[in-house]
């Protein structure tokens, strides 16, 4: 696959989006990404969207295409929770490589007015988790964290270090919901407990927002005259839906997905210059750095606590602040990790620009450590 990520768009993360519609939000962020790519709407011949756009649970690609005035030759829903954004990028590249289209708009966005309606699910989670008081992702990640702490001695303090470092990064990101609100380790440790051992600041803040990426052929990307970011490798794996059926409570399908991406790219963890890792909960960062082979199994908490994870460090983690500081705009939250990696690899990240090798690992993680997609992105040598 020789495809490039040529356009990015990202909206501010906000707690409430009064008056906005989901389709209108998608239009805003799509326009930003296509303009950023130096392309026009007529160039877009592929469209990837998330499930349940606004009130449209079916025919989502057609609805979005109609709204945007597109007539794509490839269109699809990607439904991988937090892995959706990463999952879109390699699917776009595959569609281009298959000759089905040349330029794909991958777009996610949501609105938020009051509490979202309860899911009408009648699935096994509704039958065998919800009646026990385990609704939502919070309990699942708390169960993961408790076991990780038990098995490996991981501490809340170690995880708090990563949360605080990301919050420092977010002070350079005006799109972050917590821009202007720095934190200390004590703040994280003394926050109200939500699902022990996780407290309020170990958990993402639900937001409204949007994120989009334009993927095109290497030829068209080279002609655009912008710094080129190439998809060097990808990997994906889905293992379960409910946490009770996870093959492993302290390691995820990301391990296989990341190592597949490394092999495709011909690189290893020692080659990376940037980590853009999915962080729905602080514990996910510890599990992911282990899954990525950055440290031995069980050492993720220590690894996070002993490094400078800010944009100034030798291997920065989530220089945009991660979702823990930006807020989680539903599935766009996962895509924000792709957007930030492209921004950084182009050298266009302003006051939080990282140095080091132009090679980024980007991860997406959905449901209860269930759906995993990893990308290795390569920028031009600086």
């Amino acid at each position: 696959m020789s495809a490039a990520l040529v356009g990015i768009g990202e909206l501010p993360n906000v707690r409430r989006s009064e008056g906005a519609t989901t389709l209108g939000t998608l239009a805003d962020v799509a326009a930003e990404a296509v303009a950023d790519a130096g392309l026009s709407p007529a160039d877009v011949d592929g469209l990837l969207v998330g499930p349940q756009v606004g009130e449209t649970p079916q025919h989502v690609p057609a609805t979005v295409a109609e709204y945007l005035g597109l007539q794509p030759t490839v269109s699809n829903v990607v439904d991988l929770g937090g892995a959706t954004g990463c999952g879109m990028v390699w699917r776009a590249a595959a569609a281009i490589a298959a000759g089905m289209c040349e330029t794909v708009l991958c777009v996610l966005g949501n609105t938020r007015e009051g509490d979202p309606p309860r899911s009408p699910n009648r699935n096994p989670i509704r039958e065998f988790d919800v009646p026990f008081g385990a609704s939502g992702a919070n309990t699942s990640y708390a169960l993961i964290a408790q076991r990780h702490m038990h098995d490996y001695g991981t501490t809340r303090d170690q995880l708090a270090h990563a949360v605080v470092a990301q919050r420092q990064n977010a002070q350079h990101n005006e799109l972050a919901v917590f821009h202007g609100r720095p934190l200390t380790v004590d703040d994280v440790l003394s926050a109200p407990p939500v699902v022990e051992p996780l407290g309020l600041l170990d958990v993402v803040m639900p937001c409204a927002g949007g994120a989009a990426v334009v993927v095109t052929s290497a030829d068209r990307a080279a002609a655009a005259g912008r710094p080129v970011v190439t998809l060097a490798g990808a990997g994906e794996k889905v293992t379960h839906r409910a946490i009770a059926f996870a093959p492993d409570l302290t390691a995820g399908p990301l391990a296989d997905a990341i190592h597949h991406a490394y092999r495709q790219a011909g690189v290893g963890p020692e080659d990376l210059g940037l980590l853009s890792l999915y962080d729905c909960y602080s514990i996910m960062l510890a599990v992911t750095v282990e899954d990525a082979g950055l440290c031995a199994k069980g050492q993720g908490g220590r690894w996070l606590a002993e490094r400078d994870l800010t944009w100034r460090g030798s291997l920065p983690l989530n220089p945009h602040g991660g979702q823990l500081s930006c807020g989680q705009a539903d599935l766009a939250g996962g895509m924000s990790h792709v957007v930030e990696a492209v921004r950084q690899l182009r050298g266009e990240a302003g006051s939080r620009q990282v140095g080091g090798r132009p090679l980024a690992l980007v991860t997406g993680n959905g449901a209860t450590m269930s759906e995993a997609t990893a990308l290795v992105l390569r920028g031009e040598d600086r």
Partner: protein, 140 residues
């Protein structure tokens, strides 16, 4: 919060496949499916075995014994109906027969729950849908 103002608890949503599990629960028995082809013990209830895809799944009573694989003390529940119960313990239970199930640990203080703790099933009494909860196993 009084019972009259608390939102209704979301009970189980049995399907034709899982109905025997909930019928047995109403009679105070934890049951699991056993595969006649590959000998897998299956939870949650399936139409076909998730290991070998055989349809030959038969219901058998389980011992009701297990151990706590991991747990969390819930302070802010995802569903408002559980607010009056906080703090309460949600746990993954490794059943003696092999499968892992999500449940709640009752019959002790939340701070007493430990990973590896032996537990035994105890069905909620008087509910529309008795649930298989777990309490600490008495020392032998």
């Amino acid at each position: 919060m009084s019972a009259s103002t608390a939102p209704r608890r979301p009970g189980p949503t049995p399907t034709p496949v899982s109905q025997p599990f909930w019928d047995a629960a109403a009679a105070g028995t934890l049951t699991l499916q056993h595969c006649g082809r590959c000998d897998a013990v299956v939870f949650y209830p399936r139409h076909r075995c998730p290991r070998c895809w055989a349809e030959a799944l038969a219901w058998r009573p389980a011992s009701g014994r297990g151990t706590v694989a991991t747990y969390t003390v819930v302070h802010k529940p995802g569903h408002p109906a559980f607010a009056p119960d906080t703090p309460y313990v949600v746990a993954l239970i490794d059943l003696a027969e092999g499968p892992r199930m999500l449940s709640a640990v009752v019959g002790c203080e939340p701070g007493q729950v430990r990973i590896g703790m032996p537990v035994r099933v105890r069905f909620t009494a008087g509910a529309d849908h008795p649930l298989p909860l777990f309490e600490p196993e008495e020392e032998p």
